[in-house]
Symmetry: C2
Subunit: 150 residues, 2 copies
C-alpha cells in the first residue's frame, strides 16, 4: 500500500473504529458460488453433496462434480465441516448465517455505499416491498438505538 502523507487520518480512523466482528478470528469470506451452497445448508441443515446440488439446479446449471469440488474447497477453508463416517459425506455449515451476513454487509457497505449505513438503509427501504410488520420491527430498533444514545 501507498503510505499516504496527505491523508493519514483515513487509515487511522479505520483502526480506531474497527468493527467488532473484524477483531474475532479470521473467517474465510465465501465467494458467490460458495454462498449459494451455504444458503442451502442453512435452510435445510446438514446435506449430502447431491442434496445441495439438486437444490441448486433450479437456479444454476452446472454439473454435480462442480458442486462437489466447491464443497471440498469450502471444507479446506473451514466454511463447512463434513462427517465422513459413511461413504456419502454429510456436510454442514460451520459459519452462521448471521455472522456471514454481517461480514458481507460490512464489505458491501464500504465498497458500494462508502460506509454510509443510512444511505444504504434508505435505498433498501425505498426500493423494496417491506411488510407493515417488518417496518414496525425496524421502527422499534430505531427507538432502541436512539434510547441508548446520549
Amino acid at each position: 500500500m501507498y503510505s499516504s502523507k496527505i491523508n493519514p487520518i483515513k487509515s487511522l480512523s479505520n483502526v480506531l473504529f474497527l468493527p467488532i466482528w473484524m477483531m474475532s478470528k479470521n473467517i474465510e469470506k465465501p465467494t458467490e458460488a460458495e454462498l449459494k451452497i451455504l444458503k442451502v445448508l442453512w435452510q435445510v441443515g446438514p446435506c449430502t453433496v447431491r442434496q445441495v446440488h439438486e437444490a441448486l439446479s433450479y437456479d444454476k446449471d452446472s454439473g454435480y462434480t462442480t458442486t462437489l469440488k466447491l464443497m471440498q474447497i469450502m471444507t479446506e477453508k473451514g466454511l463447512v465441516r463434513r462427517n465422513e463416517s459413511s461413504r456419502t459425506h454429510i456436510y454442514e455449515a460451520t459459519v452462521s448465517e448471521a455472522d456471514t451476513q454481517k461480514q458481507l454487509l460490512h464489505k458491501f457497505l464500504e465498497t458500494a455505499f462508502s460506509g454510509s449505513a443510512s444511505k444504504l438503509v434508505m435505498q433498501a427501504l425505498g426500493n423494496h416491498r417491506t411488510s407493515k410488520e417488518e417496518l414496525e420491527q425496524i421502527r422499534q430498533l430505531l427507538d432502541k438505538i436512539e434510547k441508548e444514545k446520549p
Copy 2:
C-alpha cells in the same frame, strides 16, 4: 438453466414482480475495481486517467496502465464516456451513483439476504454507528412508506 417442472411458480413470480430498475435498459454491472474508479468520477467529476490514478493510489497499489486499461474497458462497457478532443482524454461517468447503488443493492440483497430488505436494514442499523440526524431521516422515510400503504 434447468427447466423446472416442480416449481414453476418461482420463475413466474420473478417476472410478475420485476423491479422497476430492471425494466430499463441493461446497465453493465461494474466490478470492484471499476467501482473504485466510478467513485472518483462521481466525487470529483470528469477526470483524466492520471487524476483518477492519483486519487486511487492512496488505497491501491497498482500501476498507471492498470487504471488506464480499466477505464478503457469501462468505456467499451459504456460505464464511462470520454472526450478525446485533446490528447489527454477526459473521462466522465455515464451511470449515476444512485442507479448503480440501486443495482448493486438489489443483487446483494438477493445473494446475501435472500431478498429480505428488513433483515438487511436491521443488520445495517444494528452494527454501524449512525447519527441521530440519519436515524431521524430513516424514521421519516418509514412514516412516508407506511402512509402510502393500504
